[in-house]
Amino acid sequence: MTRLLYVFFILVCINGIFGDGLKCKFTIDMRLLKPADIPTSWIDMTDPCTKLMESQVKTEMEAAMKYLAMGAHFARDTINRPGFSKFFFESASEEREHAIKIIEYLLMRGQLTNDVSKLLKYPLTTNNTNPIRQEWNNGEEALTDALKLEAQVTRSIRDIIITCETPKTSSFNDYHLVDYLITDFLEEQYKGQRDLAGKISVLGKMMQAHGPLGEFLFDKKLLSGEV
């Protein structure tokens, strides 16, 4: 098979030489186009830190998928909770933005120069072993799930901070990355978690006394952004 391809390649080249002269040349050129000679001394992230940041891309995208599932569930005709659905779909796209922010940061620090395909592989979770949950009994249950999810993400960001501040392999403290995660990510995590906890509290009380009526009212408030 490879030999066949090789012969084919030569034929294409011959055709290139006698026919459209440069057709083959540019393929070779592009292959040989070496990257410029750039010093690498400015690339100072430590390996364990980089690895955790890379896996955070996947963590954020997994969160996005979980929120997608929630958005889809509450959009159903027999569930009919447009407020919840809107809230979760928006959360899904926010989580995707977080994944992109991490990528942007890594690019800024000179990372992701080879094999970016390992960052995200579709599907993120293998369907058989770990299918995405796609049904909830009510809005309160989904919000509770969301809060647990956010708490997990917060923990994973904290782990990155710890590793990047004091990596086991060296004494390099990555001040800038740590500061970025604290001011941009942790800030949003804690605010988001407080927001979810508050929502669960209000909804929980309303549902305790009024069940579906409480959920119905809360949903409309969510839809109009009043809670």
Partner: protein
């Protein structure tokens, strides 16, 4: 009592799948059916037969959105450093992501349910999924192929919706409005880019051609 039971069973059998009958029996003083109103849904047409296709297509869009994001990432690293290519693929990723969400909403709109665990129908044609060594021109070719594949898939589902024994013009219409135009536009644009860049690479200095083309892409974003 037994008589009433038999009567209502008969009634149900005759009445078929109606929400009204469900409600009548569920909310009567003597609720039957266990109070279930399973016919009070938004389903009509052939959404049931098309649902799996729609789910798979939504997931194919999510998969493609990931791919474009990775391509964008590749051109964003300091060695490749092509702002234009990076931006082009990022925009494509965003668009395809939004289209996936919109389709998920449409499935729910028609009384269906999304299944994120349903795998996309078609395998990616590019055996080597590594984005690693994609040159600028290769990436355009890959992007073009992948958008074409989504377009073909959309046409197939559209045809199925139209020629199904129980036609569903609503699904067909949704595909026309949300996928046909945007996909054909993107396919055409990517084909144009591929040809432009390929022709420019026949210059002596390929690096300058790519630089200029990247700058052009950046300005069109």
């Amino acid at each position: 009592m037994l008589f009433f039971g038999v009567l209502s069973l008969l009634f149900l059998a005759v009445s078929g799948e109606y929400c009204y009958t469900d409600i009548e029996s569920a909310c009567s003083t003597n609720p039957k059916n266990g109070g279930l109103i399973s016919n009070c849904n938004a389903k009509y047409g052939s959404i049931d037969t098309l649902q799996a296709e729609l789910q798979a297509y939504a997931n194919a869009n999510i998969e493609t959105s990931f791919e474009f994001l990775l391509m964008s990432t590749h051109f964003g690293n300091y060695e490749a450093n092509r702002e234009g290519f990076k931006g082009l693929y990022r925009k494509l990723s965003d668009k395809v992501w939004e289209e996936a969400i919109d389709l998920i909403k449409y499935i729910a709109h028609r009384g269906g349910r999304m299944d994120l665990n349903q795998l996309p129908r078609s395998k990616k044609p590019i055996k080597d999924s590594k984005v690693l060594e994609l040159t600028e021109l290769n990436s355009l070719a890959k992007a073009l192929d992948s958008q074409k594949q989504l377009a073909e898939e959309a046409l197939r589902i559209h045809a199925q919706a139209q020629h199904h024994t129980k036609q569903d013009a609503a699904v067909a219409h949704y595909f026309e409005e949300h996928f046909m135009e945007s996909l054909s536009e993107r396919v055409r644009r990517l084909a144009g880019y591929s040809n432009d860049l390929k022709n420019m690479l026949e210059e002596r200095d390929a690096s300058l051609s790519v630089f200029l083309f990247d700058e052009y892409l950046k300005n069109t974003l």
